[in-house]
Amino acid sequence: MVGANYQLAYSLYPYKKVAAQDQPAQRHPVVVVGGGPVGIATALDLAKRGTPVLVLDDHEGVGQGSRAICFAKRTLDIADRLGAGRDMVDKGVVWNVGKVFHGQDKVFQFNLLPEDGHKNPAFINLQQPYFEKFLVDALRRAEAAGAPVEIRGRNVVTGIAPQDDHVRLEIETPDGPYAVLADYVIACDGARSPLRNMMGLRFDGRVFEDNFLIADVKMKADFPTERWFWFEPPFEGSGQSALLHKQPDDIWRIDFQLGWDIDRVSELDPDRIRARVDAMLSSQAGHVPDYALEWTSIYTFQCRRIEKFRHGRVLFAGDSAHQVSPFGARGANSGIQDADNLAWKLDLVLKGHAPERLLDSYAEEREYGADENILNSTRATDFLTPKSKISWVFRNAVLSLARRHPFARPMVNSGRLSLPCVYDGLSLNGPDRLKDPAETRVGAPCVDAPLAQGYLLDMLKGQFTILALNTPPPTVGHASGVEVATLALTTEADDPTGALAQRYLGPASQAVYLIRPDQHIAARWAQATSHDIEAALRIARAQEA
């Protein structure tokens, strides 16, 4: 039996023997390997669409440690569609202000507060165990309402054999081995992905020679709810950079950049960690406040991805497919975008509403997203840890200029925080017959707007949707082969703040948008015929060879 390798924060799917373990290998349309945030989001999305999913996880619940803490608006928008967004925002800490220090001095501060008229905030901080639990809670609610999903805990996948028309998985359990067959397997088994290794796939990229110490401390402090980041921090033993950030439950995330040549064991000695934390906190509070160390860890990181996210009937999503530095909150947030992108496509393929090559567009779009994340993450890392003398000189020149001159502030890079990916120029994009607004161009995710009756994104329920503004929507027959919802709005009746017009019309007086099930824009026109919509629907489902 392959042993459990981490402690659980919550036991959510304890091992239970199922009849299938004593029967010949049973066939499933989709098997998701890995019950982390990406696996659960993918399974939940598919099951809500009526496609049966089996999730296999090697543990029985959510691992301890806060790990990912920053969840971006796009993730919350997706979680809303899946039924988990409200729990996350209610529990999470909403923050907007970031301060950047260099030594003793404040360099500048920034405000991420988005323009008004969005349901969700730009970011929340939330410990990953909560994030995962809320997704599993939503999955359980969907399951109770009839969604076809099953999670099997302590089912460790030990073998994978892809065939032409199915994939066979070998599984170890406390009651011995069994096997399942799957039409498709989604590998959401994390950065060390056993499936990726079993398939002999390379995970290439760049290793950064640096160690970061995380200390999550519990304390009552009246520091503001802001992200504080220090370059060359003035407090003792803090390394090259440091971060202080608030989480729920009076937990503060502290991060110290320790450098490459360290002794991990001695750096994890609680007394040594406390000395560092004492120095940081007393420099800010004037004294050492009472606090408890909740969780500590030292991490190194790489920026890398597998070359192809799709290998026939096996699809890689989340950390198994790509890994970035934590600066920018691009790990879990991009993994959730993978789930969002893959679920509707796989659902349509399994239902016969789209050709199998639609799955290639998952790889195309999310490989593009991964490259964007790796680029941003690598640049942030190069700014944080200059690799040569001249890069130190320029880095510190930027920091010193930024104190007085606004032009240098956009160059200060303590992590470019995750923004949703825009699929500019990729295969599923239909015509873009409006020049503006740029933020709602074809390939972009829909921007939220407050309507008279609620928020726009809440009206987009995970189907293809025709959004008609100030014009009657074109009708689409069943010939299109897929369900299409219609949302007809007028600026006069539905746009109390003018945000809808600003974000979707610009200078135009009317518009028709075709929106994908994942809320990305497939095509847009000033006016469109049924024929235009049907043609764009074919492109968006990869039916045009």
Binding site: V393, F394, N396, A397, V398, S400, L401, F407, A408, M411
Partner: protein, 62 residues
């Protein structure tokens, strides 16, 4: 407008003197930092990525 590599600064001797004079009293590290700040300020003033790219290429091609 492309990168201007023709004489463009009035009183070139005076400018050169002023540039070197700005480094008076600095050690190497201070001079390096000054130069970096100056490059960033000038680059922002120019703002045009194509001109900046052409300038970097011209500086490399010696």
């Amino acid at each position: 407008m492309g990168l201007n590599l023709s004489p463009n600064i009035p009183d070139p001797d005076g400018f050169y003197d002023e540039l070197l004079g700005a480094h008076d009293g600095m050690d190497d590290a201070q001079s390096d930092a000054f130069n970096a700040r100056l490059i960033l300020i000038l680059a922002n003033h120019i703002g045009d990525r194509q001109v900046l790219r052409a300038a970097m290429a011209a500086a490399k091609d010696t």
